[in-house]
């Protein structure tokens, strides 16, 4: 059973639009949810993260909305730019240890 699910698998938006990337999880013991961004040829890099005590986290154009009851979170990228084109991974970390589970990723393409 996949612990972390992401949708859609791929997403195309126009420059200036808001891209919405979804993530859901199974295990209620996850205590930390980072989003990583992966550009082709590079390694994953932390973009933004949230803990379940919060329902929203903002960092510039990037916002995480978190719904603990439904075990869902989403990453909103406002005013999308072509440079945002990348694969975005939602991850979750188990409480009490430092083990992470990653989703399969959403491939975002922003068209100018």
């Amino acid at each position: 059973q996949q612990q972390v699910r992401q949708s859609p698998q791929s997403l195309t938006v126009w420059e200036g639009e808001t891209a919405i990337l979804n993530c859901s999880y199974e295990d209620s013991t996850f205590d930390y949810f980072p989003w990583y961004r992966l550009f082709p040829g590079e390694s994953p890099a932390l973009l933004i993260a949230i803990r379940p005590v919060s329902n929203k986290k903002e960092d510039g154009r990037f916002t995480i909305f978190f719904n603990k009851r439904e075990k869902k979170l989403s990453l909103h990228i406002t005013d999308s730019q072509p440079g945002d084109s990348a694969t975005y991974f939602c991850a979750a970390r188990y409480t009490g240890n430092y083990k992470y589970v990653f989703g399969a990723g959403t491939r975002l393409k922003v068209i100018a």
Binding site: Y36, S43, P44, Y98, G105
Partner: protein, 114 residues
């Protein structure tokens, strides 16, 4: 501050051959992770260490894969007899562990098994 380094960057093998991957984490990071990332999938944890101790290797195919971190710094991941299904990028990451949340990833080793 130097990031996580990995070598080699690329490897091409025939089935049945062995290969080793090497990782040097960020200095002072006590937690080190090895992930396998098949094409078009997310990273999948193979094993992770805190210092020299294996904390979780439940996803490591123990019949062919092994990983060590003898001094709690550098680490080696070895595949004894590679299979085509092992074709993937192998990522090493480190984190401060109890000192912080963020994982820092290395550039990865792209393995192709023919």
């Amino acid at each position: 501050e130097a990031g996580v380094t990995q070598s080699p960057r690329y490897a091409v093998l025939q089935e049945g051959q062995a290969v080793s991957f090497w990782c040097d984490p960020i200095s002072g990071h006590d937690t080190l992770y090895w992930y396998q990332q098949p094409r078009d999938q997310g990273p999948q944890l193979l094993v992770y260490f805190r210092d020299e101790a294996v904390i979780d290797n439940s996803q490591l195919p123990s019949d062919r894969f092994s990983a060590v971190r003898p001094k709690g710094t550098n680490s080696t991941l070895k595949i004894q007899s590679a299979k085509q299904g092992d074709t993937a990028t192998y990522l090493c990451a480190s984190s401060p562990g109890t000192g912080g949340d963020e994982q820092y990833f290395g550039p990865g080793t792209r393995l192709t098994v023919l």
